[in-house]
């Protein structure tokens, strides 16, 4: 009989984030009242974060397989074959709520969590990226959140020793009370030495590894799925502290241990720590698990079973070990100064049994804990279609040059150097293209193979039209990989939305997934891992729908990579793809005219693919000297970025068939700006014509000014001052901790 000394009241149930019908489901499942520890376990397993109860139905519609996919969603990270017996393992995960409460530690532990996901599978991390979204710059808390989050991302990754090579930073008032911190990590492993979480074998030791357990983040997982409100203050002590030093030791110890062949199954302790990891390992292997919590290394005295099962202390792992190699395994961990304790064993009775001080504190059916989690088909309303915006309804600026300078210095468009210089993007010595380009490129071993990485989404498009926005995010990701010469392989996603219990929000979610799915299928770009973060709301107001897409691409020969920078004077500048001057939802419309209107630019996936395949084949043939995709801000902004990056100006012809501002700032998709030697233009145009790809020459590089038609030249110096200046100037303001 199981001790049941705490009366489970409806209030207690509600405090655990469980709805009355969900509690009833628990009662039906176990046929008695749960103990407090059991209630805690259910609340951890059945909250949104772990169970995906609102999103599962829709996630199933995503394409997750492909010739290169070794392991899709369902493990700690996705695994993709990159040839030569090697695999790339990657995933993205959010740490939004914790990062708003304590920006430094929230972001740091977010990075720690995703790195662990990757090396748990046997991979040595080779790249980290991060997609960050903050409130309006003028909001009193924004600066503090930015400085803390960036320092936290850097603080963890730099110390751990992974190059942080890219990501995104955006500002919007919808994130005022709810920043987004989406951390991506990728690691390299031998394709035949991947480690999974499925336990195998009865009576085998379950080993606890890493740091000690404290009362950190108890209720963290529940918090991550709860809306913010005025009580947020009280939830503060659940903040977890990251210890990148221990994580680095854990990495080295795990990889060393895996090489000995002692590891049968391994799972990191992330959200809901011991509970989630132990249940997953057992349930996947059709095995029961029995744990004796007295054996768990603890940092604090008098921890209860409840606390130990829900603690989110960082830098911990659970393994099922080959008993014959237990001594050897322990020696490895002792060498690295980490805790190592056998805390239980696998059983054949499919129960999840927890003991503390010799007493059974929980005894639950292990499969049902996961399988029988509630799943919802939440009501949803499709986002109403916005009215298209005619170009004639969008006034031209007085001065194109001034407008361009303004745009390149906008919070969303300015250089992110201030951010990425705080990240060690060079460690490991393989960074071929660092932050600041379309995609970052990392050499694999001694080459010539390399991988490209990028994170993308345009939340304003997703808000205006979730389906097109979802498509666009995937398409832009694909395009960014293509722009450096990579073959796009697969993606991970991080779906950040508001409260799914609201049909309009659920409609955004459903729409975005539909768009992501369509694009992923059309571009053969399967989803191999991901994460969902819901309830990103403050006082009833949701964030912009933000499905961040992380993409990985392969370059067979690193020597053939290209960057965005203009290389020298005298190169011809061409645009690939058609420019129609779509200004709906553009940066120009939003930030210069202060209007959030119209439809986002439509994405034609067939055209996307055709244009991209053409550009990639030209890059691989060595024909191009610079490539940049035209996205946020439009063509002229892309040209300015290429000029600034190379310190080389350009003379651009004005368009004949479009109003100048529509041509300059329209955000039509599937476009690339390329440069090549003058003499090569004719043959390239011929090849483009044969491939049915629109291509036209628009100018020539040279000088230190950007000149558009007969307009006054804009000096690169002036552009750079605006572009480079915004971030440092903004961040020089006072960083006040509790200005809420």
């Amino acid at each position: 009989m199981i001790a049941n000394d705490v009366k489970i009241t409806p209030k207690l149930v509600a405090e655990h984030g469980l709805k009355p019908d969900e509690y009833q489901r628990i009662l039906d499942l176990i046929g008695r009242e749960p103990t407090l520890t059991e209630l805690g376990i259910f609340s951890a397993m059945w909250n949104e974060h772990c169970s995906y109860k609102s999103s599962k139905k829709w996630l199933r519609t995503l394409p997750t397989t492909g010739p290169r996919v070794i392991c899709g969603p369902g493990e700690n990270a996705g695994v993709v074959d990159i040839g030569d017996g090697q695999a790339i393992i990657f995933k993205m995960e959010s740490h939004n709520h914790p990062s708003y409460i304590e920006p430094y530690q929230g972001a740091a532990t977010g990075v720690g969590g995703i790195l662990r996901d990757v090396f748990t599978m046997g991979a040595r991390p080779i790249a980290a990226l991060n997609a960050l979204r903050f409130g309006a710059p003028e909001h009193p808390r924004t600066r503090h959140v930015v400085s803390g989050v960036v320092a936290g991302v850097g603080g963890y990754g730099n110390s751990f020793g992974v190059p942080t090579i890219g990501g995104e930073v955006n500002f919007d008032e919808s994130y005022n009370g709810n920043c987004l911190v989406n951390a991506f990590a990728a690691g390299l492993a031998d394709a035949d030495k991947i480690f999974y979480s499925q336990a195998k074998g009865v009576g085998l030791p379950i080993v606890y590894l890493g740091s000690k357990t404290g009362r950190d983040g108890i209720h963290g997982a529940t918090m991550a799925s709860a809306e913010f409100d005025k009580d947020t203050e009280e939830k503060r002590p659940t903040v977890q502290i990251g210890d990148p030093f221990s994580e680095k030791l854990l990495l080295e110890a795990c990889l060393e241990l895996m090489a000995t062949g002692a590891v049968i199954a391994i799972q990191d302790m992330g959200a809901a720590g011991l509970t989630c990891s132990a249940v997953e390992m057992g349930a996947k292997g059709d095995l029961g698990v029995e744990l004796d919590l007295d054996k768990v290394p603890c940092r604090e005295e008098g921890m209860t079973a409840y606390e130990m099962m829900l603690s989110e202390s960082q830098e911990r792992m659970l393994m099922v070990l080959d008993p014959a190699k237990e001594k050897q395994a322990e020696a490895v961990f002792r060498k690295w100064g980490l805790d190592f304790a056998v805390i239980g064993y696998t059983t054949d009775d499919l129960r999840f049994r927890i003991k503390r001080h010799g007493e059974v504190m929980a005894d639950l059916p292990i499969k049902e804990l996961g399988d029988q989690a509630p799943e919802y088909d939440r009501p949803w309303i499709a986002t109403p279609k916005a009215a298209a915006l005619a170009t004639s309804d969008v006034p031209a600026p007085n001065d194109i040059a001034d407008t361009l300078v303004k745009i390149v210095g906008l919070p969303d468009m300015a250089s992110r150097r201030w951010v990425w210089e705080q990240y060690d993007h060079l460690i490991q010595g393989n960074t071929a293209i660092g932050p600041g380009g379309d995609a970052a490129v990392i050499r694999i071993g001694e080459g010539p193979k390399a991988l490209a990485f990028t994170l993308d989404v345009s939340p304003r498009y997703c808000a205006a039209d979730p389906v097109e926005g979802g498509k666009q995010a995937v398409a832009e990701c694909w395009r960014n990989l293509t722009a450096v010469g990579a073959e796009p392989l697969a993606i991970t996603d991080n779906l950040n939305f508001g409260n799914p219990e609201k049909p309009e929000i659920m409609g955004q979610f459903v729409g975005c997934i539909q768009g992501i799915g369509e694009a992923a299928r059309a571009l053969d770009f399967p989803v191999v891992s991901g994460n969902v973060s819901l309830y990103n709301e403050t006082n009833g107001k949701g964030i912009l729908p933000t499905p961040a897409i992380g993409g990985v691409g392969l370059l067979p020969d690193i020597a053939k990579r290209v960057t965005v920078a203009f290389k020298k004077a005298g190169d011809a500048i061409l645009v690939i793809g058609e420019t129609k001057g779509h200004l709906g939802q553009s940066i120009y419309l939003r930030d210069i005219l202060k209007r959030r209107e119209g439809t986002p630019p439509p994405v034609d996936l067939a055209i996307e693919r055709r244009n991209g395949d053409f550009v990639r084949s030209e890059i691989r043939a060595g024909a191009l000297t610079a490539v940049h995709d035209a996205s946020d801000g439009g063509l002229l902004v892309a040209l300015a970025e290429m000029a600034m990056a190379g310190g080389v100006g350009a003379r651009i012809e004005a368009p004949r068939d479009l109003p100048l501002h529509a041509w300059a700032f329209g955000e039509d998709q599937a476009r690339y700006v390329i440069t090549l030697p003058d003499a090569m233009v004719k043959p390239l145009l011929d090849r483009a014509a044969r491939a049915g790809v629109p291509a036209s020459r628009i100018g020539t590089t040279g000088g230190d000014e950007l000149t558009l038609g007969s307009g006054a030249p804009i000096s690169l110096k002036r552009l750079k001052a605006a572009h480079d200046g915004w971030f440092p100037t903004y961040m020089a303001g006072p960083d006040v901790m509790d200005a809420q």
Binding site: F245, K248, W336, E421, Q422, D424, L426, A432, G447
Partner: protein
Amino acid sequence: MKSAVIVFPGSNRERDMLSALEKITGTKPVAVWHADKELPKVDLVVLPGGFSYGDYLRTGAIAARAAIMDDVRKKAADGVHVLGVCNGFQILCEAGLLPGVLMRNSHLKFVCRHVKLEVANAKTAFTRKYKQGEVWRCPVAHGDGNYFADAETLARLEGENRVVFRYAEGTNPNGSLNDIAGIMNERGNVMGLMPHPENEIEDLNGGIEGRALFESVLEAVA
């Protein structure tokens, strides 16, 4: 040339260093564990970059008291070349093998970027393949690279030509005194520097001027 790279808990550029040494010297260096008591017989001992012990307490402080450091001291006294890069430099200062200390960057942020280094003394075992006054590009990646020493020590360092590298052309990334990027001991066989020459050795890095540092030692010990 035989070389050894010491691995402390939390070292994280040891792989970069091992690989650079192998590429440049043609000989595989030995990785030595911090808890070992003795170094193998080598011509060059390298303390690599990283965050030994998480940079907790003070950068390099805990590593400077590691078991292996006694033998590093002994080898240094015997004239073996010792190179500390970034965290390695911090450790050498904490261990008293080099004077002064590396404090938080003046802007209090970690900084990773390429700087310009001026060769302030080309007559050392670590710089003989550079020209005096030569300026080369090299990356830095640190949060505590702000070199500080009292006025007397500083005057001695300058007077004895023991400042080996300086940040040039206004690229001082951390506020260090006299733009100091690297210094050596009196005898000239122990040098520490904050920048990472091991990450500037092949075309992929965008420059290869870090090679000359290792090639200098190679020549010096030949």
